[in-house]
């Protein structure tokens, strides 16, 4: 069972409070598709992903980035039971989407960098630790139904 300190809970709430969902999701998803191009394999029907500019301007990428972030918000609202909150999402990603779980970590890292770039100095090492712990729990919950 994941144990969250009051400090960690506060940090996670704060980070989500400062997040611009319309921007952060699309930025993180486009970044992962550019920095780790093999992740594009899951988005064959998204149209033009030929270069960085195309990816950044792709409306389907942007829309999906927002979907991902709203999914993360569900985890934030259910921090004490992310495992069960994500049960169906885990089945979806393993059975239907067939995403290699290593990719979750890549997207998590890109989201961390997007957040660091927007929060700048207020993204202290302690907040980064809490944030990455949260993402690790999320990733672990998404991996649970793989077999």
């Amino acid at each position: 069972m994941v144990v969250w300190t009051e400090q960690e809970r506060a940090f996670i709430q704060e980070i989500f409070g400062k997040l611009n969902y319309e921007e952060a999701g699309p930025k993180a998803l486009s970044r992962v598709l550019i920095v780790y191009p093999w992740t594009q394999r899951y988005f064959g029907n998204f149209g033009n992903l030929y270069n960085a500019e195309a990816i950044i301007n792709n409306p389907m990428v942007a829309a999906h980035g927002k979907v991902v972030l709203r999914g993360l918000e569900r985890a934030m609202k259910n921090m004490d039971d992310i495992k069960n909150t994500y049960k169906e999402l885990s089945v979806l990603h393993s059975e239907k989407l067939r995403v290699d779980p290593d990719n979750f970590k890549l997207l998590a890292d890109c989201l961390t960098i997007v957040i660091a770039a927007s929060m700048r100095n207020s993204f202290t090492p302690e907040k980064q630790a809490a944030w990455q712990k949260f993402l690790a729990v999320v990733v672990s919950a998404l991996c649970r139904q793989y077999y």
Binding site: S30, R31, I34, V35, A52, I55, I56, D109, T112, I113, V114, A116, A117, S118, M119, R120, N121, F123, T124, P125, E126, Q128, A129, Q132
Partner: protein, 143 residues
């Protein structure tokens, strides 16, 4: 995933912008690594203070980052350029090479924080590749 001429140019261009603050970047990155990945603290049990911003962290972050700066100048032959450092890490320090990736991640977070306008996804991919090749060269002598 070897470095193309474009990757090398991108890395050099970024370093010309961030070069003056690499001591600070190194210190920040090391502090964050110790805070976010506590297992890395096992290599520094001999330090009095492992908190971000402490004197040993700042000093050592600078040392590591000076090494990284040097790699930018040796970007055409990282394996050759890092031969001595690789021996040091392999036979004396014996740091598990998985940690190179962890340190690199934190350098990237700090660069993103301090230079958000200069760290576009296209720059990010070249820098990520640079660190990947650096790590490989650093691990060259391990076995």
């Amino acid at each position: 995933m070897s470095l193309s001429d474009k990757d090398k140019a991108v890395v050099k261009a970024l370093w010309s912008k961030i070069g003056s603050r690499t001591d600070e970047i190194g210190a920040e990155a090391l502090g964050r690594m110790l805070a976010v990945y506590p297992q890395t603290k096992t290599y520094f049990a001999h330090w009095s203070d492992l908190s971000p911003g402490s004197a040993p962290v700042r000093k050592h972050g600078k040392t590591i980052m000076n090494g990284v700066d040097d790699c930018v100048t040796k970007i055409d032959d990282l394996v050759g350029g890092l031969a001595a450092l690789s021996e040091l890490h392999a036979f004396k320090l014996r740091i598990d090479p998985a940690n190179f990736k962890i340190f690199a991640h934190n350098v990237i977070v700090v660069i993103g924080m301090l230079f958000p306008a200069d760290f576009s996804p296209e720059v990010h991919v070249s820098v990520d590749k640079f660190f990947q090749n650096l790590a490989l060269a650093l691990a060259e002598k391990y076995r």
